[in-house]
């Protein structure tokens, strides 16, 4: 890795009162890399992800996106940074009172300052990409969970993010709908998007991830290529976790 | 500033008005007891008619609630108090207030009960009927207890409105809290008795309002 990392997490800490969630997390994600994070619930993986756009305020440490430290700067800088860091949630969180198209154009118009035409053109491109251009005028409640999640991905992509964060994007989906979302993510990776994914889809990780990180108790226990982690995990905790989830 | 205190927070005048106002408060209490009981009872009857499968019961109940939700309670009160004597029916202020608020409050309580009864699922009816309970038994021992529990916050907040409403009785010279306060105001040319009345209402109703808010937030979560 010669180029500077697209996303860099430096000794990140997070605690709620006495309860330490993250202790000293360090991570570099290169441009175009897909880093996959696994770990038991409560290991802090979602919290770490949410610190990367400061939805969760870190207690210490730095997060650097494309060479810029997001921990410093004004409120306006923070909003501009969030435009550049796309986030996809477990619960989709589409705006229920807006059509699919308006869901995708809202931040483009109000936060980026694109004109309505530009925003619409861009939105239609992104909806095309996730295979839902024909649903542009539908309301979120009329879509399946998988379709809603793909719209949520389009909503984030439309803002031309440098990095995409996925917080358990398929955990709330019926099993038969998971594939369509993973296919979109795979396509994103193929087109060179930098991605940080928290998920339990081990098969997807094996196939698509460049690197897998195992977290437990607020620290990175082990990291390596998917074959190493899934094939021959070194740490005992990793072995225990994998034997539990892959059985 | 001093004149403001004198006009609104004159402790001397408040103390002088207090005995009279306490008798007014007692009347307000009696009035509340009467109109709350009447409203809760009347409302239940109207609500039961409203959820009945029988058309001839449902229709009059809908007309009843619509009319009394549209008429201001004060208009109803004046109509009964000043209008009925024209038809040869003499009526005491207390009876006029009780009758007017029975009609008005029944309509409002009925809406609350109705929402409660509808919130109890069909499954409860079916389960109870399948164990051999009659329609009436199912209603009284299975559905209504759940219905009331489901809408307890709304019943409570409606009761706050009912208590506030009793202040209208002052308009027909029933010597309840507000009437006695206003009388003391006109005798002393000082607004402090009205402030005292407001404080008494606050002491009684603020905790209930707070409780209602807490209740409703918990339900939303």
């Amino acid at each position: 890795m010669v180029s500077r990392p697209m996303l860099e997490i430096v000794s990140l800490q997070k605690c709620f009162g006495d309860n330490v969630i993250l202790r000293d997390i360090n991570l570099k994600v290169a441009q175009g890399e897909l880093v996959f994070i696994i770990g038991p619930s409560g290991s802090g993986k979602s919290t770490m992800l949410r610190c990367c756009n400061r939805l969760e305020e870190p207690s210490g440490g730095d997060v650097i996106v494309d060479g810029r430290n997001i921990m410093s700067g004004t409120r306006r800088d923070l909003d501009l940074m969030r435009l550049k860091v796309g986030m996809v949630f477990q619960g989709f969180h589409l705006y229920p009172h807006m059509s699919v198209l308006n869901n995708v154009t809202l931040a483009q118009r109000k936060a980026m300052g694109r004109t309505a035409e530009e925003a619409k053109a861009r939105a239609m491109d992104m909806l095309e990409r996730v295979g839902l251009a024909h649903k542009a005028d539908a309301m979120p409640a009329q879509l399946s969970g998988g379709q809603q999640q793909r719209v949520a991905i389009a909503r984030a992509l439309a803002l031309d993010p440098l990095v995409m964060l996925f917080d358990e994007p398929t955990s709330a989906l019926d099993p038969e709908l998971v594939g369509s979302v993973l296919a979109v993510m795979k396509d994103l990776k193929a087109k060179g998007m930098t991605m940080l994914v928290v998920s339990h889809e081990m098969g997807f990780a094996r196939e698509t991830a460049d690197r897998v990180i195992f977290m437990d108790g607020g620290v990175v226990v082990e990291e390596g290529a998917p074959d190493e982690i899934f094939g021959a995990p070194k740490a005992e905790r990793t072995q225990a976790f994998l034997s539990r989830v892959t059985r | 500033m001093q004149s403001l205190m004198d006009q609104f927070f004159n402790l001397e005048i408040m103390a002088k008005a207090l005995p009279l106002m306490l008798s007014g408060l007692w009347m307000t209490a009696k009035l509340c007891a009467a109109v709350i009981v009447l409203g809760l009872g009347g409302g239940l009857v109207v609500a039961l008619a409203n959820v009945s499968p029988r058309r001839w019961l449902r229709f009059p109940s809908i007309v009843f609630t619509d009319i009394f939700r549209a008429l201001p309670p004060l208009v109803l009160l004046i109509f009964i108090y000043s209008g009925l004597p024209f038809a040869g029916i003499e009526i005491s202020p207390f009876a006029a207030v009780a009758l007017a608020f029975l009609l008005n409050n029944s309509a409002y309580y009925a809406e609350v009960y109705r929402a409660g009864i509808l919130s109890v699922g069909k499954g409860q009816w079916e389960a109870a009927r399948s164990t051999g309970l009659s329609q009436t038994q199912t209603l009284t021992s299975v559905v209504l207890p759940q219905a009331v529990r489901n809408v307890l916050p709304d019943l409570l907040s409606n009761t706050v409105e009912v208590v506030k409403l009793t202040s209208l009785a002052s308009v027909v010279s029933l010597s309840e809290l507000l009437y006695t306060a206003n009388m003391a105001r006109s005798i002393t040319y000082n607004a402090s008795p009205l402030v005292l009345a407001a404080l008494i209402y606050l002491v009684i109703l603020w905790p209930v309002v707070r409780l209602v808010s807490r209740f409703q937030r918990r339900l939303a979560a």
Binding site: - | I67, E161, L178
Partner: protein, 225 residues
């Protein structure tokens, strides 16, 4: 029966006092409309302010909402109308009525809108914020429209209950429907003007009652599904 009709629905008396009652209706409509605009706007503004969770503001807003929901409006009306002149502030009857009813509606509207904001998922805020809309942008474009939608059924009910209270104006000499009717009643020696007033209120408020019921039924249906 003939006698009853003559007492409560005397056509001559009706014709004689209809203009007074009609002008009373206009007064009620104007004051009612002003109260709705001022009360709902103020209530919405306070609820929005509360989403910022500024401790001192919250305490102030909660106390305001509690007090004006606990106090009977008639107490406030008498207090302002008869109390303020003692300190040199003389407000006319309509102004007192407008101020008291607006404050009361604002208190209730604030609680209703706030309940609306409270029932919006946290994820909606996070989605807005993570796309760079910022807190203000998310409030305006994401949270507010949803909160308003949730608030409409209970708000219509409350607006109905409070605009009806314009009848309280009769106590402080506002020439609205009820005072026109009671004046006419004592002049004519007939109960007919009171019937006329009741009819006038039904004409004004039955449409609102129907609207309120429609919103309620719609919500019941959407909850039932």
């Amino acid at each position: 029966m003939q006698n009853f009709l003559h007492t409560f629905f005397d056509p001559n008396v009706m014709a004689r006092y209809l203009p007074d009652v009609l002008s009373g209706m206009m007064v009620a409509i104007w004051i009612g409309a002003a109260v709705v605009v001022a009360g709902v706007t103020a209530g919405l503004a306070l609820a929005c302010l509360r989403t910022y969770r500024i401790a001192i503001c919250d305490v102030f807003i909660i106390c305001f909402a509690d007090i004006f929901r606990a106090l009977p409006p008639l107490v406030l009306i008498l207090l302002l109308y008869f109390g303020l002149p003692g300190v040199g502030v003389r407000l006319s009857g309509p102004v007192v009525l407008f101020v008291v009813l607006s404050l009361t509606l604002a208190a209730f509207a604030e609680e209703i809108f706030w309940a609306g904001f409270s029932s919006i998922e946290k994820g909606q805020w996070e989605a807005g914020i993570s796309t760079g809309l910022g807190f203000g942008g998310t409030l305006v474009y994401v949270a507010l429209p949803q909160a308003v939608r949730l608030a409409i059924p209970p708000l219509v009910n409350r607006v109905l209950a409070i605009t009806k209270m314009t009848a309280l104006g009769s106590v402080i000499g506002v020439l609205e429907i009820l005072s026109a009717a009671t004046t006419a009643q004592s002049f004519s020696g007939s109960a007919t003007p009171l019937s006329l007033a009741a009819i006038a209120y039904l004409v004004l408020f039955l449409p609102l009652v129907f609207a309120a019921r429609m919103f309620e039924r719609r919500r019941e249906q959407s909850l039932g599904r």
